[in-house]
Amino acid sequence: MIGKAAAGGVVETAVILIVAAALWFAPAFAGDYWLQIGFRALIYLSLAEGWNLMAGSAGLVSLGASCFVGLGAYVVFGLLNKLDMPPPLALALAAAAGGALAAFVSPALFRLRGLYFTVGTLALAELLRLTMINVSLFGGATGIFLAQDPPDLPALFHCALVVAFLASLAITFCARTRASVILRAVRDDEDAAAQMGVRPFRVKLAAFALASAISAMAGGVQAIKLGAIEPYGIFGLQWSIDVLSMAIIGGVGLRLGPLVGVIFVIALGELLADYPEAHVAIAGVILIVLIRFAPRGVVGLVAYQKLASRRPATA
């Protein structure tokens, strides 16, 4: 059993490595449009992988992705503008800041289980946004402009690719090793897990901090690409909602869920872009239908049908 899982982990790591390596050369032959889409997909993939880790493995359903995206963006801009730091270092520090904020707020948020955690992350994002708006040091509602010229698209794409690669590797580690057993135990029954010697607080914190660090890093890359950030956009609830819908559409807790969800939502957005008046409503309807008829997301739907067709009504 464990051997199988570990072998799966090795295969998975290899696949991620190969795909990432192949994508590295995408700018050489893909057009700008595809790079733009690819960039967006990679950023969202990082966020959705983190979300999936928290929700699918540790049972933490977050509505606070925007909180860490925004934090990462502000940290990166501050470091780049004030200290003229090289971007990779700034991104690493943004990740550290994301993890640190997660660690700082976790004693408060983890006292709460289930819905309360969700509501708490929502409030946290709002609190941070309001702080940025009100404190002129952070540019108030105007936000901050990046002093230096942003790198070109292929460089940004590579940046996003690295973040998504790190995120995927981290998730593979969490999903394919012994860590996964511990994470799922905490998700299923925190108290019983504690009686087994698992320290639920640390486990949840690790998942939360890891996901937050990834989100902050993704937010930093997104901010560099935008060149200008302000609290309403970068701390917008839209981030949290997008990530949540991607994860749910793909399939919560499924390894391929985030990837499929991200592709689905981005493709949908692009398809409906020509119907600007109604595209939000149409997206809403599609979301409702998917939630209703594909409870484990698109991945779950496909996997389940395969399973059902292979061995009918036994087990």
Partner: protein, 291 residues
């Protein structure tokens, strides 16, 4: 430091405003407490109530505050099919599915508001909404006092329904253990549907009140959702009277924050308080310590 009249007026308005906030949060509280559903479309239901109030006035000429029961009924009638077709099939699928469905409903409603009513900022223009009420050094908007009174009455009625009627008993039993309640003869589906309708009806009343007291537009819902969540958490989940207390405390502290730090810090104070309560008194500050 602002002068004493300004300070007293601000705090008094804050407390009264808190009463109104409590009514806007009541619907969310009921739905969250009984159905464990974070109704992400709550803000849109408030806005819908405000539009209902606006058009009610336009078509009937009757003051929307007098027509609150009618608006509540309209919203309840709107909520029932919504529950029946969208939420009920997801009843056994964990909180996320319903939450996301309500999110989808919220963006659809926002879009429909824009298409049907344009993106204009509206307000239900009533003379009493623009009158001050002066008592010695204290001046508060008359509409705040009216809203406060309506809110308290509505909350007391809902509290009576939940704590002292057969429907309320069924509601609490279903919330605690749906399967056992069904076996004991409670029609859990209907109870949930009516609970949802009650929550939406409350939101509609709160929305009509907001429409008269303030202003609204298709996308005003989001801000009210967050404020309502803060009120609900302050008061304790599903605790009807706690919602009133939560609203009052939030209103008072927000206006204190606005007074000392500037109006911009109102919401910030609200959110900070919200998180603090979540962290230290997750059952609401009213709750007695858990055994």
């Amino acid at each position: 430091m602002p002068d004493i009249g300004v300070a007293l007026s601000t705090i008094a308005s804050g407390v009264l405003l808190g009463g109104i906030l409590a009514l806007t949060a009541l619907g969310l509280s009921i739905v969250l407490g009984v159905m464990r559903l974070v109704n992400l479309a709550h803000g849109e239901f408030l806005v819908l109530g405000a539009y209902a109030g606006l058009f009610f006035l336009q078509f009937t000429g009757v003051d929307p505050l007098l027509g609150l029961p009618v608006i509540a009924l309209l919203l309840a009638a709107f909520a029932i099919p919504l529950y029946r077709w969208l939420l009920q099939p997801l009843a056994d699928r964990g909180p996320e599915a319903q939450m996301m469905t309500m999110f989808a409903v919220s963006i659809i409603l926002q879009n429909l508001f824009v298409l049907a009513f344009s993106a204009d900022t509206r307000s239900i223009a009533r003379d009493y909404a623009a009158l001050p009420l002066t008592l010695g050094p204290i001046t508060v908007p008359l509409i705040y006092l009216i809203g406060f009174a309506i809110s308290v009455i509505a909350i007391l009625i809902v509290n009576w329904v939940v704590s002292s009627t057969a429907f309320g008993r069924d509601l609490r039993a279903s919330a605690a253990d749906a399967e056992a309640a069904a076996t004991m003869g409670v029609d859990v589906k209907s109870v949930r549907m009516l609970t949802f309708a009650l929550g939406v009806a409350c939101a509609g009343m709160g929305g009509a009140l907001i429409g008269a007291a303030f202003q609204f537009g298709p996308s005003s819902g989001g801000a009210y959702l967050l404020n309502s969540l803060a009120v609900v958490v302050l008061g304790g989940l599903g605790n009807v009277l706690g919602t009133l207390a939560g609203g009052l405390v939030l209103g008072a502290l927000q206006s204190l924050g606005g007074l000392t730090l500037g109006d911009g810090y109102r919401d910030l104070v609200g959110m900070a308080l919200f998180l603090a309560v979540l962290a230290f008194r997750p059952d609401g500050f009213l709750a007695r310590g858990r055994p």
